[in-house]
Structures are given as C-alpha cells and as structure tokens.
C-alpha cells in the first residue's frame, strides 16, 4: 500500500489515491469516536473494514462521505475536499437498509440520483450504462416496474447498489449493506459485488462485522480498534481474483480468517 502518498501526489495521478485521511479525529461532544486516523485508500482497490462494535467503522464511512465533519485533521477524496467530492458525485453510499423510496418503482429509484440537481443545471457524471442496464447488471432484469414492497430484502439492496452506480462513482462506500440478509442471499450478493467491482474498477470501502465476508471480499482488511476508534492494522488478503464461493473452504482462507479473529480479540 502506498502509504507515503500525499494528497498532492494523488492530484497529479501517481501513485493513485482514492481517499486520504490525515490525523483525522471525530468527536461527538466529549466522546472521541475516531482518534488520529491516517490512511491512504488505494484507487481501484477493495477494502473491507472490520472491528469490534463501537470502533467507528460506520463513523469512518460517514466522515469520508461528508455526512459528519472531522474535528481535526484532513480528509480528501481524489485530492478534493469531501464536500467538493460530494457535490461532484465522486462517491456513492449504500446503507445497511436499502433506503429506497417506497412510492418509486425499482427503475425510478435507480434514476433518482440523475434527477437530483438536473433542474438546477448541476453537472454530474453519468454511467455509460442506462438505469435499466444497471438493473440487469445486478440481476434484476424484468423487475424494473416492481415497487420496493414487492421485492425481497436482497433484491431491494441490489436496487440500492444499482442506484449507487448510476452516477458512475469512483468510490463506493458500503455500510454493512448485506448485514440484514440471510446467508444464501448474502453469498450471492458478495459474488455479484465482486463482479461489479471488477467490471467497473470502482474503489470500494465496505464495512462488515462478518470475518468471512471481510476476507472473501477484501484485498485489504482495515482492522479498527475501539475506545477510541483507531486504525489497528491493515491486513493484505493475498487470495487470487476472481474469487468463488469454494475459496472459503481453502486453508489459505481459513488462515486469514483465523488471523483476523485473533486480531479482533485483542482489539
């Protein structure tokens, strides 16, 4: 990992850094949620974020996505401030709950980001794929006109992913997106997400509390420690891509999972 890369280097393009945090602190009143977090997120990589509850996993995503401000320190996305990156739609967010608008069909939900700012003449990036092609990409062709309550939890989350991709984000922030789904659906969506990642080249920061999910998806696992939330270790997962479900039964996978479990216990 090019941990020495600076914001300036990212702006000129080499080595490419998607997001950069420098001595970032997040405080809620007197409570320190994140302490002195410094990290360069490599462009195009798949990061999973793991840690005990209260370690600030979600807070870190919210910090990067400009939902909450840093108390001190610097956070930048592709060399820009988080606010500038948000206005330019350089990143998208997938919540744990699909957060679809219940009165809109699947297709209309995917189209929502394109409608926001259109009348104000805001220039936003648009994916080469049309909203209905994005629904195809997440395996929902034929369900364009379904309302969210007519879809299963897994399908709703896939609509949310298609919606996140419609503005062609360079960085995709995912906050336990599959946490509420059953095991089978989760496996299926994990594979689909890996496929999307490889096709689009988007950088992904993926929060999870499942060790197998963290190992299976991530090229790198960011292990956070709690009280206060801080970066404990960055673990490289040197398993080859493309990954298949049966990878989970290999000794290498088990070794990584065991290592992470040990780390987690000492966090």
């Amino acid at each position: 990992m090019p941990s020495g890369a600076t914001v300036q280097a990212a702006a000129t393009g080499s080595p490419p850094v998607a997001a950069s945090l420098k001595n970032a602190y997040v405080r809620f009143g007197s409570f320190t949620a994140i302490e002195n977090l410094s990290l360069d997120v490599e462009d195009g990589a798949f990061y999973t974020i793991l840690g005990p509850s209260g370690c600030g996993k979600s807070t870190m995503l919210r910090l990067v996505s400009d939902l909450i401000p840093a108390a001190s320190g610097e956070v930048s996305i592709f060399g820009k401030s988080t606010e500038a990156a948000r206005l330019a739609r350089e990143f998208a967010f997938v919540f744990q709950d699909a957060t679809l608008l219940p009165w809109r069909t699947a297709l209309q939900n995917v189209e929502l980001p394109l409608e926001i700012g259109r009348k104000r003449g805001v220039k936003i990036p648009i994916s080469e794929k049309s909203p209905s092609e994005l629904l195809d990409l997440v395996g929902l062709s034929g369900r364009e006109d379904a309302l969210p309550h007519e879809l299963s939890g897994g399908m709703r989350q896939r609509v949310a992913i298609a919606r996140a991709l419609v503005c062609k984000p360079k960085l995709l922030l995912m906050d336990e997106p599959f946490g509420a789904l059953d095991e089978m659906t989760r496996d299926h969506l994990n594979l689909q997400l890996l496929k999307i990642w490889q096709e689009t080249g988007v950088t992904i920061l993926f929060v999870t509390h499942s060790i197998p999910e963290a190992v299976f998806l991530g090229q790198k696992v960011l292990m956070l420690a709690a009280h206060p939330g801080r970066l404990r270790e960055v673990v490289d997962i040197d398993l080859p891509h493309p990954r298949e479900i049966k990878l989970r039964d290999t000794p290498e996978f088990t070794r990584h999972a065991a290592h992470l479990r040990e780390l987690l216990e000492t966090c």
Partner: protein, 278 residues
C-alpha cells in the same frame, strides 16, 4: 416472486400441487369476500325488520318514530325536494373540504420549514380546535352573514385541525436515512421537499382527508342550522318543527349518504395514488 434469490430446482414436480392449492386459496378468498359483504348487509336488514315490527306492534305514533317503510316511502315520493336540498349542502361541504384542507396543508408546510412559525401558530390552532364548532358557528354567522360563506367557513374549520396535525406528522415522517441519502446526493431543500417529504406525507394526508370527508358534511349542516332557507340542515330543522318525522329521517339518511359519497371518493383517490405499503 421472491424465488429469484433462492433458485429451487425441485419446483417442477410440485407444479400440480401448487396449482391445486392456488385454486383452493382463490375459492377461500372469494368466499371470504362474499361473507364480508353479506354479513353486515344481513344484519342491517334484520335490524330494519325488527324496527318495522316493533313500531307497528307497540303502535308508536309516526311523529315520534316512523317505521322504515314510512321513511322509504318519503325517500321516494319526496326525492325531488330531498335532491334540491342535497346540492347546496354538497356544494358547501365540498368547498369547505377544499379550503380547510388546502389551508391545513400549506400551514403544515410552513410549520415544517419554520420552527418559529410552528411555535407562534400551533397553540392558536389548538385553541381554535378546542372551541366546540356549535359554539363558534353563531360568531362566524355574524361575521360572514347568512350566505354560502358562513357554511363553507364552518365546514373548512372542522376539516382543518386533523389535517394540519396529520400533515405535519407526515412531512416529518421521512426516515433519517432517506435524508442522509439526499445529503449524499447534495439535494436542495426544494428537491428534498418535492421528491421525498411530500410523497412520504401522502398516506398521512389521506387518512386525514378521510376524516375530513365526513366531518365537512357535519360542518355544512351545522352552518345551515344557524340560518338557511335551503340545504339538508335547513330541511332537518323544518321537518322537525313540523313533526314530519318520516321526511326528517329521510333527510338524515340523505346526509349520511352525502358523507358516504365523499368518503368513497377520497378512498378511491387514495387507492389510486398510494400503491405502496407504509
């Protein structure tokens, strides 16, 4: 429909049994529907028969309590008069419904966008709501005169408060995550309003409109009691003072029919507009 997530290869052999189960379910569903209509209608018919027999059996004078057959006879023979008095009340009720609800919706929007507006005016709205409509009606009659306006204002006032409260709740019912999504998309205040807040509030608005659909008729009739030469309310007073009980009952029946009509219109509109579950 949820089977896409978990492909089930054993489905083929089960086709026949599922079809049978489906037909059985449809039959059951149809029976349930027929029952849900037939039972209340049967009950009403039984009650009417008991009423008819009771009145005749005990020789109750018609001016105290007419038999259903007397009422039905008047409903047919006096129908032109009933209808002539139906239209003014309908007009007053509908105009009151529209103005009262529109005012409530706009004020709710103002409340949601400005906390100080809410602090300033909400107590006043509560205070006005606590005044019994019958008590305030004479005041309104003095202000607005004996014409249409008084009736419309009374009908509007009676609709106003439930819609205001529901609409404020509806506009605030947006989930925090939907607002975070809006923030990530850098949505403007007006985009959040039109694309998220307003649609979220519609189920709340419609439950208030269903209340208003029946109360606006009460408002119009109360308005007519204060002073009117025509309308169902005027006909009720007139037939009461003249001991024309069958006509009185027939008029009451028409009034309730008006409420049912307005309620049905709002319900149909609701079903058309709100196709999502909340």
């Amino acid at each position: 429909m949820t089977m896409v997530d978990k492909a089930n290869p054993g489905d083929v052999e089960n086709d026949e049994t599922t079809e049978k189960a489906l037909i059985a379910e449809q039959k059951f569903e149809r029976r349930r529907k027929i029952e849900s209509i037939a039972i209340p209608i049967g009950t009403v018919i039984c009650l009417l028969i008991i009423w008819q027999i009771g009145v005749r059996l005990f020789g109750v004078p018609t001016y105290i309590a007419p038999a259903p057959s007397d009422v039905a006879e008047k409903l047919v023979s006096q129908f032109p008069i009933l209808l002539a008095n139906f239209w003014p009340t309908l007009l007053e009720a509908v105009l009151g419904f529209i103005t009262g609800n529109l005012a409530a919706v706009f004020i709710a929007i103002a409340f949601v966008h400005s906390k100080s507006a809410e602090k300033a005016f909400f107590p006043i709205a509560v205070f006005i709501n606590t005044i019994p409509i019958l008590a305030i009606a004479p005041i309104l009659a003095l202000i607005f005169g004996p014409g249409l306006t008084t009736k419309v204002v009374i009908a509007a006032m009676i609709c106003f408060f439930p819609t205001l409260v529901n609409m404020v709740r509806g506009l605030q019912s947006v989930s925090p995550q939907a607002l975070e999504l809006a923030r990530i998309l850098s949505a403007s205040k007006s985009e959040i309003f039109w694309k998220i807040r307003l649609p979220s509030s519609l189920p709340f608005l419609f439950s208030a409109l269903k209340i208003a659909a029946t109360t606006c008729v009460i408002g119009a009739i109360v308005g007519e009691w204060i002073g009117a030469d025509y309308g169902l309310g005027a006909l009720i007073l007139d037939s009461m003072f003249n001991y024309r009980s069958p006509l009185l009952y027939a008029t009451v029946f028409m009034s309730s029919g008006l409420s049912v009509l307005l309620f049905a219109i709002v319900s149909v509109a609701e079903r058309r507009i709100i196709r999502w579950h909340t």
